[in-house]
Every structure is written in structure tokens, then in C-alpha cells.
């Protein structure tokens, strides 16, 4: 990044890539060549900027101009206006939804104002396929410090003092985990990076791997040195081809630079990294299951203890951390434990990355200090609820978490607070729901997921979650009975208390938390056979409003089961026993004569 006067950063994240009609970076390069500027301006494809809602995104450095929804057709205009004439392209600037003003650069966007980017520090900033760019931003400096200055124990002490807790789900203190693995003597030890991101609705690990692969390599090497391991393994989802490619590329670069391999930085320490592919099993996020999967087995968890720190991969002491946890390590080493511990809350230090999605205006990947409230995230960063609808709930922690309501909006987000209110941090999925979302159906959605992803080893998870799902299904079908609600409670509690691994132990959380916070909605489904959100098909009835019906017969003709009767120019009627609730009649009616009750 030395000789070029200007850089055009093009987001290469999946979201932006998918919403562009063609190759944006190529279009920009072509436009530069036409103007003969290819040596002065460099186009860099970076990792995710986080602001997926308005992709594809192009950011101009050094002035931080933030262009949104850029298509290849706009390339020429950016070069002609911005690069050559120094005038910002107005139509591509982000418009603040409240003030209706164009915003010239990212620093002034609400979306970024409250964010502190540590784990994501390089995402959207550097070219992930260029190790020099990583190095120019203090890359591998932490490794040098650890190897040359700190030594293993002080490194672990630094991580302990920083208060970093595992970002993958449970929130176990990372330093302590490292210490256990260090203390267990063995001829061989392993460090494992869990990159099998499985939470449906979280993609921060993918973004880090795609946008900043070297941070993971550096952190794993530090981890290996600290606990006495010479081999690192990345367990990565096969469904992330781009992340795999970038990681492989980065590993090779690191080897070329002598940052992986034998005698790293002349310290006498050897370390290298291999990849193992996940193959689509959510339960492999659980560390014992992950280890079995890396050993070529079915990813079934085993009872802990023994913990991996004692007996993990190949029966040897193994430390497992996830991608986001690792991404914090180099910064902690460089900036010091105190610096990190000052960010966030006392027991939850640092920042957390969230994948903010659902019915919120600004969908994207955000990183905020622990202790930020849900309200700040949803209404300030997220820009509030889409289409002016009413906020109903926010789901955190994915299939293991719970649904929180407006009474929780001012809860500062951290590991312990979320558990206290009946949810959990999980890997950082955050799904916002509005008035149209039925909470029984949402619980059913998550249970469907856990039933699908249960490994089947232990009874409560294999059969119990299936039964939970079946009861929820019965309720959404309008066949629920009052005692079903008691059954949900008892069964949910037993599954939590008796399941073998974290997946089963947390699987009932979506049910229990929605029952806790939306009890009336469950009652309404069971007693009144009504779904206020209008999402349970079987609880809806299509009705013809007599005053509006002109007898055009359009609905009767469109009805696939012929359950609408009525003469031409006469009021029509729907036979409720036969109706399959397909909604065709409502779609086809031009006179607003069909309603749902």
C-alpha cells in the first residue's frame, strides 16, 4: 500500500458478491485502464465490510468515502468523477434514513459509530491474499513478541488477564483453557481452530477467514507456542470454499515467510497448520464431536470429563478455540491485557461480533463492546425495524438461545446477562423479529433445526426433542390441548438436565424462553385456536366480505380444491372444511373481498 495514491476497496464478502450483476472489481480496473490510472489507483478486493444490507460496497481510501449498492455499470462514473475530478458520486452515497441526508464517509454512519472493530479490524481494510498488507497492520508482531519476549507462561497470563472468553458459545475463559492444556504433560499436543460455523444466521467466522486469514494463523501459532503444541488444525466447513481457498493461500504465504514451519523467527519453535473439513453437522461445534470428526469418525460427542485439554485429538492434550476468539489474540498481545480488559464489562471483556439479521433495516456484521444494549444494537446500529413495523422479539444465541422482548432491550449484552434473562451469547447470531412473527412457530423452527442436527446418541435429545417438536407442531396446527403446555415444560426441563452435550442441553431454550416471554401467545394458540401474527396457516380462515364481493368468480376459478361456491354476480362463499389455505383467492381478488380472520 505504498506507491498508490488512492485505493478502491471492493467488498469481496458473499453478500456483496452475490448482489452485484457481474464482476465489480474487474469493471473498476477496466475503467481505470481506460483512463490510464492503473498505476496510481489500486483496486483491492477485501473481506466483508459488515454493511451487507446495502451491498455491493466500495470504499475509497484515503478519504473513507463509502459507496453503497454499487453495480459494475457505476464503475466508470466513480473513476471519472471521484478519482479524476475529486467529486463524490452523490447517487451512490448512503442516505441516512432519519435525516434523509447523504453521508459522505463511513465514520459518520450510525451503523459504524458505535462499533469497535478488534476481531474484524482488518476485514474490509486489507487484501486478504496479501501477507504484506497484514504485516503492515502489525501482523505477526504479536507472534514475534511472544516468541522473543514473553515466553509461554507470560503469554497465557496475558490472555488470562485480558479476561477473554471463548466466542464460540459457552464463554469459557480462554486463558484458563490454555493453562490446562499447557499443564498436561504430553509428547504431543494440538491446537484446533473451530471454523465449523453452524449457527444458522451467523457468519462472522466466515467473514474473518475470508477477510483476514492471517490473524487466525498468527493466533494459532501463538497458542501452539504457549501450550507446547507443534501442530494446528483448522476444522472448517466444506461449504465455505472461499474461506478455504484464502486460508490455504495464507498458510502457504506464511510458510514462505518462515512464519509457519520449522524454527519460526529463529526461536527454535516449529509449528504448522493442516485443514480438516467439516461436512455439515451442527453438533460438530461441540469440541469432543469436532475432535471425533477430525479423527474420521461420526461427529458424536463424548462425556466430559475428560476435557480435550487432557485427552483430545488422538487422545492428546488439545486446545480448541473458535475463529473469533483467535482473531482477538494478536491484538491482546500487542496492546496488552489491560487495554483489552478495559473494553466491555468486568466479566465479559472486549467486543463481540454479531450477525444482525431479520426484520431490521441494516442487516450486517457488527462488532460492539460488551455491555452495549440490545436497543443500541437494534435501533441505532441496526436502524430500527423494517417497513415501520413493531419490534416484537430478538433471538440471540441461535438454536441454543432464547427470544427476548422489549422488556429486555436495555439489557447490556454480555455472557452472563444473556443467560440471566434466559438466552445466551452463542456464536453471535442476532435475529430481529416483528409483529408478523409467531413465537410458537419460531420455537418450532429452532426445534426443527435441532431435531435435524441431533446426533442421536442420547435419548433425551434424540427422542425428547423430536417429541417437543411434535407438540409444537400440533399446537401450530390448531390441535393443541392445555396439557400440552405442561408437557412442553416438563420435557424441556428434563432434556436440559439430562442431555449428553451442549446441543441437547440448550435445545429446549427457544421453547422455554418463548413460553416465558410470550405465554399468552401459546395460550391463544391452544385455547382460542388463533395465531395473532397470522403465520400459522391452519389457524387462519379465509373469508369473503359480502359487501365487497361482486361475484366475478375469479376466486372460484383459481381455487385448486373447488371449495368456493357462488353464482355469477352473486356473493361467493368459502367452504372452510375443504379450504387448504393456499391464499389464491385473496391474491386473485381485485375487490379486496377476501380477508383472513
Amino acid at each position: 500500500m505504498v506507491k498508490h495514491k488512492m485505493h478502491l476497496l471492493v467488498c469481496g464478502g458473499t453478500g456483496c458478491y452475490a448482489s452485484a450483476n457481474g464482476d465489480l472489481a474487474k469493471a473498476l480496473n477496466e475503467a481505470l485502464e481506460i483512463s490510464g490510472l492503473q498505476d496510481e489507483v489500486q483496486v483491492v478486493t477485501t473481506g466483508c465490510f459488515g454493511f451487507c444490507e446495502k451491498g455491493p460496497i466500495v470504499k475509497v481510501l484515503p478519504d473513507n468515502t463509502f459507496y453503497v449498492e454499487v453495480q459494475p455499470d457505476d464503475a466508470e462514473k466513480i473513476i471519472q468523477e471521484h478519482v479524476i475530478k475529486g467529486r463524490k458520486v452523490d447517487k451512490l452515497l448512503y442516505t441516512d434514513p432519519d435525516k434523509k441526508e447523504k453521508i459522505a464517509d463511513s465514520a459518520h454512519m450510525d451503523f459504524y459509530k458505535k462499533q469497535i472493530r478488534i476481531a474484524l479490524r482488518n476485514c474490509g481494510v486489507i487484501n486478504p491474499e496479501d501477507i504484506d498488507e497484514y504485516i503492515s497492520r502489525d501482523g505477526y508482531q504479536a507472534l514475534g513478541k511472544v516468541l522473543g519476549e514473553l515466553g509461554p507462561q507470560k503469554t497465557i497470563d496475558t490472555i488470562k488477564d485480558s479476561g477473554l472468553r471463548g466466542r464460540g458459545g459457552g464463554g469459557f475463559p480462554a486463558g484458563l483453557k490454555w493453562q490446562f492444556a499447557k499443564n498436561n504433560e504430553s509428547d504431543e499436543k494440538y491446537v484446533v481452530c473451530n471454523a465449523d460455523e453452524g449457527d444458522p444466521g451467523a457468519f462472522m467466522d466466515r467473514s474473518i477467514l475470508e477477510g483476514d486469514p492471517h490473524t487466525v494463523i498468527e493466533a494459532m501459532t501463538i497458542n501452539g507456542y504457549a501450550i507446547g503444541a507443534n501442530t494446528g488444525l483448522v476444522y472448517i466447513r466444506a461449504e465455505y470454499p472461499l474461506a478455504i481457498r484464502r486460508l490455504k493461500f495464507a498458510i502457504n504465504q506464511a510458510r514462505e515467510y518462515g512464519l509457519l514451519g520449522e524454527n519460526i523467527m529463529d526461536s527454535g519453535f516449529d509449528f504448522d497448520i493442516q485443514l480438516r473439513y467439516g461436512a455439515g453437522a451442527f453438533v460438530c461445534g461441540e469440541e469432543t464431536a469436532l475432535i471425533h470428526s477430525m479423527e474420521g469418525e461420526r461427529g458424536e460427542p463424548t462425556v466430559k470429563p475428560p476435557y480435550p485439554a487432557e485427552s483430545g485429538f488422538r487422545g492428546k492434550p488439545t486446545n480448541v478455540n473458535n475463529v473469533e476468539s483467535y482473531a482477538n489474540i494478536p491484538v491482546i498481545i500487542n496492546q496488552g491485557a489491560d487495554w483489552f480488559a478495559k473494553i466491555g464489562n468486568k466479566n465479559s471483556t472486549g467486543t463481540k461480533v454479531f450477525a444482525l439479521a431479520g426484520k431490521v433495516n441494516n442487516v450486517g456484521l457488527i462488532e460492539v463492546p460488551m455491555g452495549t444494549t440490545l436497543r443500541e444494537v437494534i435501533f441505532e446500529i441496526g436502524g430500527g425495524i423494517k417497513d415501520g413495523k413493531k419490534f416484537k422479539a430478538v433471538q440471540t444465541g441461535g438454536p441454543s438461545g432464547g427470544c427476548l422482548t422489549d422488556k429486555h432491550l436495555d439489557t447490556p449484552i454480555d455472557f452472563d446477562n444473556l443467560v440471566k434473562v434466559g438466552s445466551m451469547m452463542g456464536s453471535g447470531g442476532m435475529i430481529v423479529m416483528d409483529e408478523d412473527d409467531c413465537m410458537v412457530s419460531v420455537a418450532k423452527f429452532y426445534l426443527d433445526f435441532t431435531v435435524e442436527e441431533s446426533c442421536g446418541k442420547c435419548t433425551p435429545c434424540r427422542v425428547g426433542n423430536k417429541r417437543l417438536y411434535e407438540i409444537l407442531d400440533k399446537i401450530t396446527q390448531g390441535k393443541g390441548e392445555p396439557e400440552d403446555l405442561d408437557k412442553l415444560r416438563n420435557l424441556g426441563t428434563v432434556i436440559k438436565e439430562t442431555s449428553l452435550c451442549g446441543l441437547g442441553q440448550t435445545a429446549p431454550n427457544p421453547v422455554i424462553s418463548t413460553m416465558e416471554n410470550f405465554w399468552e401467545e401459546y395460550e391463544q394458540h391452544v385455547t382460542d385456536k388463533k395465531c395473532a401474527a397470522g403465520s400459522c396457516k391452519n389457524l387462519m380462515q379465509y373469508h369473503i366480505i359480502e359487501e365487497n364481493c361482486v361475484g366475478c368468480t375469479a376466486c372460484a376459478r383459481k381455487c385448486p380444491v373447488n371449495c368456493i361456491s357462488g353464482e355469477k354476480k352473486q356473493v361467493h362463499k368459502i367452504d372452510q372444511d375443504l379450504c387448504i389455505k393456499c391464499g389464491n383467492c385473496m391474491d386473485v381478488c381485485k375487490f379486496n373481498a377476501v380477508e383472513i380472520i
Binding site: 462425556v303 441431533s454 442421536g456 435419548t459
Partner: protein, 587 residues
Amino acid sequence: MIKITINGKPVEVEKGTTIYQAAKKVNINIPVLCYMELEDMGVKHNPGGCRVCVVEVEGAANLMPSCVTKCWDGMVVKTSSPRVLNARKTVVELILSDHPFDCLVCAKNGTCDLQKMAQDLGIREIHYQGEQSTYREDTSPAIIREMDKCINCRRCETMCNDVQTVGALSGINRGFEAVVAPAFEQNLEHSPCTYCGQCVAVCPTGALTEVDHSNHVLRALADPKKKVVVQTAPAVRAALGEEFGMEAGSLVTGKMVSALRELGFDYVFDTDFAADLTIMEEGTELLNRLNKHLSGDKEVKLPILTSCCPGWVSFFEHHFPEMTDIPSTARSPQQMFGSIAKNYFAETIATEREDLVVVSIMPCVAKKYERSREEFSVNGDSDVNYSITTRELAHLIKQSNMDFHSLEDKNFDSPLGESTGAGVIFGTTGGVIEAATRSAYEMHTGKHLDKVDFEELRGMEGIREASVDFDGQEIKIGIAHGLGNARKLLEDIKAGKSDFHAIEIMACPGGCIGGGGQPLHHGNSEILKKRQKAIYQEDAGKKIRKSHENPFIQNLYKDYLGEPGGEKSHELLHTKYFDRKKRWIKK
């Protein structure tokens, strides 16, 4: 030592003890379903999957599985608090909600661990109903799989893969669809299954059972045109009593003979007789190969491996087809008996082969398969027509309204019922090779063997080795029981690292006393040890304890067979092996 409290009782245990084991010390029996207590047989299976054994541990948020959770100092445990009982009942109800309700007509009725669990917990209603798993029934020559009765304890998988290293079964699918099955959910027949029956022996429910041939036997007995001959394997007499509530290790030879007579068998014979015959043939083969080897023949294959066990024979045919020239070609005692019965004995009593029905009572499931092998039949008529297990015999006796306890002790019929102590010990690991040694020693050295008890060959260790002094010539003997242990010895032979002269292999842990057709030991290795003791006790009580001294065997050779290893013996008493390894492209 670690001090813990269980239900208010203080217990002191060694480090590494599980809560389940600690509770047992103070007579608290925590119910278990998936766990198998076979540690001293080298079998470890505590996946902690069924969650029936969960207990409350003070300070722990969740309930903990007692079969796998190790005690720590100061641990306070409650095994039957309301919270535990509610969870345990709910878990069992969940299992039952995915289980067919045909207990009254199930083969495991009365011996099912799940049934007992439901009874003990007083389950009267299943609160959680829903979809039930359905699977196609799989019938093979020896084993029936009804996987809708499977509770996913995975015991069979451990036996098949870890203990036996057969690899016929694996957990497949996941979640609610998870079940144990052969590759591609094909029938067992198309898998490398050896029918050793260890899966059947440990299955807690009716998911895995033997193919029941007892009705065929009853039909043959009722047919006036047929003469029905029965042979009983040595291990049966040491275990049958358990089916009638007797202490494990009770010897019931006389009562068994009595019961078989009452059932209507025309001749009650003993497989032990054929075991003596096996020693003659196998021993001769051993000595031939040994002598050739000692005189410098480099071509001769040593060690010689025993071949009495059909599970083991299938195993090497599937997994070591390139080594089928090493095992002895001698048929198993069951098949030698069948062959002698259908040829020699039929002739003696002037009966057509087809009108003589040979039934075997075996501790084994694989014997059902062995008897069905084509090479053991003449014009479609098998040498052994039906093979039933110890358990099936017990059912037959119960059906016939006999009071087993009050049956008089009776003797086997002659001549195929006469046997030596050497024949008896075929029933336990180490027994075949000890019997062979007794005879081979005398045949090789020409000297009288005073002490016939070879203690060095006995025991329960999975792999044992011993040297026997054949008058200055050291004979090295290996013993393995359990196919996993057999595999280790075979790998050594393959790698040229084996210096044994002879190896005895039995597929089942403990040998035939632990066979897949025996009364269920419910994962308790003490029972196997008691059965073994009974076998040696029967041997010690016999007047003649060396096979070659059996006068009826001597007569059989004199009158009918000629020489051991001779032409007639080869035709009737030896066999050949096949390459059963699956190949997709024939090379």
C-alpha cells in the same frame, strides 16, 4: 482414596471409580441400560447415551450419568431424589414412545432389560407419544434384526467393531433416524458378519435375536417317520441351569439328557464325542505339520490354527482370505458329529440318511449358519438339520411343562454319547488346545502323560501364550478368544512375526461358554468365570481325560474310518475354505 456420600451413606473409593461403581459398594443399584460391565473382559462400553443412570450431584447444574462420571473427593450424590426419578422416568418413557408394544409376543419377553426397567420404575403411562421408527426386518441364516426395537444403546456396535473387529455394523444416520445397521442398510447376509452372535448376546431388547428353529425341531419330533438324533455342545451343560433360576456355573448334564429324552429325541448324544474325534484329526494334522517343520521342510505352514469355531472360520474367510491355508482343515465337532451320524450311525441303525434328523444344541448362533453351508450337505440334505441355542432349548423345556429342577440325572446314549474330559473342555477358551496337547504329547513322544491339567493354558486373558515341553522339544502355543484378539495374532503371522506352532482361536469372549446362544449374562463377566469353572470341574470328574483313549473313538477308526487323516476321514471329517472378501472389480 476418595470420600464421597451417596444417599447420605459415606463411601470410600479409589480414584477413577465411577459413581455407579461406588454406589454398588454400598448396595445402591443404579439402573443402567446402555452400559456394559465387562471391563475385566477387556470390553469398555459406557457411552453415557441412554441417560437412564443419571443422578443428582450437589453443585452440578445438570444431572450426571453415573456409569461414566468419576467420583471426586467430597462429592455428594443423590440417586433417587424426586428430580432424578422424574428425569429417569421421562427418559424411559421417551424410549418407550419409540418402541413397539408387542412385548407379549416378543422373543425377549421376560428377559428384556427395557421391560424390566419399565417395570422397576412403575411406568403405567407414556405421556409423550409421537412418530415411531420403522425398519424392515432383516433375517439371515442365524440372526434376526428388528430394529424398531432398537434403543440405540450401541452395545452391538461395540461388540462387532471394538471387540470382534468384524466391522459388520455401524451407527448410521443421525438424530431420530439414528440406528445401527450394516453398510448401506443391506441385510446382514451381505455384510462381513460372522454370526458370532455377540451382538445378540448383549442386546438389551428384542432388536437382535437368533433365528428360532425350535418349531422345526418339534415338527421333526412329531414325525413318526423320522429318527431324531440330538447332540449337545459342552458349554450348554454349564449354562442351561441359569435359564431355570440356578446359580451360574451349575452343571446340569444329567438333567439336560433327561429333558431331551422327555422331549422325544430318539437318541441323545454328545458333541463331546465329536470333540474327541476332532482332536484325533486336528492333532494328527498338527503333528504332521510339526514333524515336517522339525525335519526342515520350509513349505509347511505353521502355526496351525484351530477350526472348530464357525464364527472364526467366517472371520478369516472375510478378512484374511489369503491365509486360508493355515487353519486346520478339520471340521468342527458339530459337523463331524453330523457327518458321522448321517453316514456311520444311520448305517448302524439301518435308516436312510433323509429319515435321520440331526439336531444340535449349541451355545452358539454361528452354528446355525455353519450347518447351512453347502459343503456340509449331501443332495440338499444337511448333515446337521437344525441347530438350536441353549436359550431355545430352555424354551422347549418350559413349553413341555417339565419341572427342570426335579428331573432325574441320566446318561447319554451310546456310542456317540461317550466322551472324555478332553471333549468337555472344548467349551472354554484354552480347552481345545489343552485337549490337543494331551493327545499330541503322547502321540509325539510315545510317553505317558501323568499330569493332564495344563494350567498354563487356562485363564480369561484375551491373548495368552505358553510353552509346553514335548520331551525336550518346546512347543509354543498361542490362545486368543474374541475376534479382535484373533486379529492381532493373525496380523503377526501375516507380518512374519509369529513363532507359535499352534494357535487356538474362539470367536466369543470366554470361548463357547460366552457364546451368542447362551443364557444372557447381561454384561456380567462373573457369570462367564463360573461357567468356565464348571467346565473344568466336569473334566476333572471324567475317568478318561484324553481323546485318543476314548474306546468308542478307537472303535470308530477300527471299524469305519481307518486312520486319522486317512482317506475316509478326509472325505467325512475335513473341509475347505472360501475367499469371501467382497470385490467390486475382479482383478
